[in-house]
């Protein structure tokens, strides 16, 4: 077995003064935070750009249409591709952050993710009967823009707060509020409110996560 001297200089080949220790502590902490964070800031920046382009494009596509009609097939395909990238990236980030990690917080997070997946599916699945029912155009147009994310956001905020996950509760509450506000924007305007509001929430979350990851534990 290797012999490692139990001195303050072990591993450094020189003296280990408090400044070096502070730098090492900061570096190790920042690296660990980046490794164990399931939603990296870059992913949130991608989400901000995606919702701005996709939902903004949706608004450009449907505004001024009377009667209201669905957007072009090309735009819908772009939105589906963007959602697929988001799901793939999020899954990869979750797996990477959770690799080798076990314990109560991990179990809680997995159960919460599974629960939210069910809420997402249920909220969006309701658009199918709405489409087949003789719902008016404003209702049919407004529901997918506002209601699913309002339901998901508020359920996620309430459940996160119950688990004392305050950061997640703040982000999801902001999403729920933007979606609720979009309900007042009309069939076309709702998409514009969602595009700008959600993009701002995603950018804010990215900035907060970046600050949270990189802040020093020792220095100012």
């Amino acid at each position: 077995m290797n012999h490692t001297p139990d001195t303050a200089t072990a591993g450094n080949g020189g003296s280990f003064d408090p400044q070096q220790a502070a730098i090492l502590l900061d570096e190790a902490t920042v690296q660990a935070r980046r490794t164990f964070t399931p939603g990296p800031p870059l992913l949130w920046v991608y989400r901000a750009v995606f919702v701005l382009v996709a939902l903004g494009g949706y608004w450009l596509s449907v505004r001024g249409r009377d009667p209201y009609s669905a957007p072009s097939g090309g735009l819908v395909a772009v939105i589906f591709a963007g959602v697929a990238i988001n799901i793939g990236w999020s899954t990869w980030a979750l797996k990477r952050a959770g690799a080798g990690v076990t314990g109560p917080a991990q179990r809680k997070r997995r159960a919460w993710n599974l629960g939210m997946l069910v809420v997402w599916a249920a909220a969006f699945a309701f658009t199918v009967p709405l489409y087949h029912a003789p719902a008016s155009h404003p209702v049919w147009a407004l529901y997918p823009a506002s209601a699913p994310l309002m339901i998901v956001g508020l359920v996620a905020a309430a459940s996160s707060a119950a688990l004392k996950e305050w950061r997640m509760a703040g982000t999801t509450l902001a999403i729920g509020i933007v979606a609720a506000a979009a309900g007042f924007g009309g069939p076309a305007g709702a998409w514009l409110i969602m595009a700008i509001g959600l993009s701002a929430v995603c950018l804010g979350t990215a900035a907060f996560k970046l600050w949270e990851q990189d802040r020093s534990v020792v220095g100012p």
Binding site: N2, A22, A28, T29, F36, G219
Partner: protein, 112 residues
């Protein structure tokens, strides 16, 4: 305050990295030995020696589980270890607070 007052068990580069890495996990969560080894880029022998010293001081706890063919060792920071890192961090902060302007600027430059 002098650097002699820094916890000698933590004030070793490798052990400081181990404790800081485990402290980034939520309290109660554990990390597999192999993931910790990958993150810190240490040999298994070197890591074992440092983990043993931390475990002897009750700063970490390790648990070995086996499903018959594969055994996995998990390592977690204890409450005592988390508290020790907190005390160590405060002591470092106090020491660095006593630096003169040039030393503080040097610390900030080296950190970035």
């Amino acid at each position: 305050m002098t650097d002699e007052e820094l916890d000698p068990l933590i004030h070793v580069p490798t052990r400081l990295k181990i404790v800081a890495t485990l402290a980034a996990l939520p309290a109660g969560d554990a990390l597999s030995f192999t993931r910790l080894q990958d993150l810190l880029r240490l040999t298994p022998g070197n890591l074992i020696i440092h983990l043993r010293k931390l475990e002897d001081a009750d700063y970490i706890k390790s648990e070995k589980t086996s499903n018959g063919t594969v055994s996995i060792t998990k390592v977690a920071l204890t409450g005592r270890g988390r508290a020790a890192l907190g005390t160590y961090t405060r002591a470092l902060r106090d020491l660095l607070g006593g630096l003169d302007e040039d030393e503080t600027a040097d610390y900030a430059r080296r950190r970035t």
